[in-house]
Each structure stands twice: as structure tokens, then as C-alpha cells.
Subunit: 154 residues, 2 copies
């Protein structure tokens, strides 16, 4: 019988003993439980199992204004960024350039309050419907797609 | 003096002799002029110069229904897929699994007529506003994000 029944030890067979719907705990994260990237995550394993990540452990995440339908920006999430987005109410990305978590609006004040989150049919893209405060784009534009419309034609 | 003044030869300095806004021709493609991927493309070099591609030479492309604002799907484009999307009126992706160009709807009939195309502020994402015929998703759902809405909360 384990000393701490609520604190499973990490070892061979550990992952196999968990049910698909079981959530991992902060202790699991502290113990270094790994998911799709080289960073630990508390993301629900049932969701993590459906994620199809790129070679860098990330999936693209589309942020859309929930009421107007504007596509605001595209960021990248690893398992833990998705977990934080689902559980904190604040859209959180993984910054590929800075290699750190990035809570949208922490610096600019232009926060994204999470309204809903969906995976696509292949599990390789996230759509986050948000309420965007102010400009989504670092240039000051409302969306990141406002400034460079390409010409159509031959 | 070249034999065919309108048919520049490919060689050292060739790229440097082109102005930023000059379009390359079908002959350039036939001659194997390369862009961001290992596939030749006739994409306007002024656009190609703004594209920031992933390690696989691709950028994510978001397809959005132009009038309702629905986010329909996310596909991937290389330079030539973007070129074909801009010039044919039919949204065209690069299929990562089949490793071939994929004109949306060629098999299913569920075509995407291109209404507008924009690059984002970093040049690493494409937003295509389309008129989607029927279901965008191969499952028969209208969008690829209809079936797997994730629970929010702690």
C-alpha cells in the first residue's frame, strides 16, 4: 500500500494505470510529467490524447472575436498553454521567439477573455473564441490581418 | 545581348537582377525557379519576400466564410499553393499527408471560392475569406470546429 494514496509515484506503467478521463495534478506537473512538448503540463490527458502536434510540439491556435466573428490573430499553443487557456479564462500562447508562455494582454492590456475553445476534426488546430480588449495586433490594428490584403488575379 | 530578352536565364545573380515587384513567369517555373519550399512557384516575389515559412516551407492558412464569419478550417500553403489561391479563384492547399496540391472541393464538390486573401503582420499566416459550398469538413460538418468543443473551468 502506498504511503500517500493520492500521490501516485512516477514509474513504469504509470501512464497505463490512468484512465483516459483522469486529470493530472499539480503534483504530477511538479514531478515532471511530460506531454507533447518538452515542458510538463496539467492538460487533461483525454484532451492531450486527441492533440496532434507539429514537430515542435505546438498546434496553431486561431483567436476569433466571439460576437463579430473577426479573425484576430493566430498564435501557437503547447499542451500547457491550452490547459491555461481552458482553466484561467485568459488566452495563453507559447511564444516561439521568446520561448515562454505569453498571456495575451499581460504587457499591452489588450487581453483576450476566453468564451469557448474547440479542437478541429484532426486535433491539430485550436479555435478560441474570445472577447478582445482593444487591438489584437501589436501594430495597433484591431486584427493582425488588416494591413496586408493581397491582390487577386492573374 | 541575350538571344531571348524576355526569357532571362537562371544563374548566379539572377535573383539579384529582378526588381522586388517583378513577377516570375511560367517559364521561370518550368526552369525550376525555387522559393520557400523545395517546389518551384510562380508566386509574386514581392509577396514571397514577405512570407515567413515554417521549417517545412509552409504557413498556416485560415479559411473563413466571407459573409457569416465562420472559421471553416485551417490548411497549409507553400508559395505555389498561395499563388494558385490568388490567381485561380479556388482555395488551394498543400496536403502534408499526401504531399500534393489540394484544390478544396475537387473531390467532394465542396469548393471554396476565394473572396479575399491577407497576410498577417508577421507574414507567417494567411487568412482566406471564401464562399464555402456545402460542408467545409470531411466529416460532413459545416466547419472543422463544430464537433469537439472543450470544457472550460478548473
Amino acid at each position: 500500500m502506498p504511503h500517500h494514496p493520492r500521490t501516485p509515484t512516477i514509474g513504469p506503467g504509470h501512464f497505463g494505470r490512468r484512465s483516459a478521463g483522469e486529470r493530472i495534478t499539480l503534483r504530477d506537473v511538479q514531478n515532471g510529467r511530460m506531454t507533447g512538448s518538452d515542458r510538463p503540463s496539467a492538460l487533461d490527458p483525454a484532451i492531450a490524447a486527441r492533440l496532434k502536434r507539429g514537430a515542435d510540439g505546438l498546434v496553431p491556435a486561431i483567436a476569433q472575436q466571439y460576437d463579430t466573428g473577426e479573425v484576430l490573430m493566430l498564435g501557437w499553443m503547447d499542451d500547457e498553454a491550452l490547459h491555461r487557456t481552458l482553466t484561467t479564462g485568459r488566452c495563453t500562447y507559447w511564444s516561439r521567439s521568446r520561448r515562454e508562455y505569453w498571456v495575451k494582454g499581460d504587457t499591452s492590456g489588450h487581453t483576450q477573455q476566453v468564451k469557448s475553445v474547440a479542437l478541429d476534426c484532426d486535433g491539430d488546430t485550436v479555435l478560441v473564441k474570445v472577447d478582445q480588449v482593444g487591438a489584437a495586433c501589436h501594430t495597433g490594428d484591431r486584427t493582425c490581418f488588416d494591413a496586408d490584403v493581397l491582390p487577386l488575379g492573374q
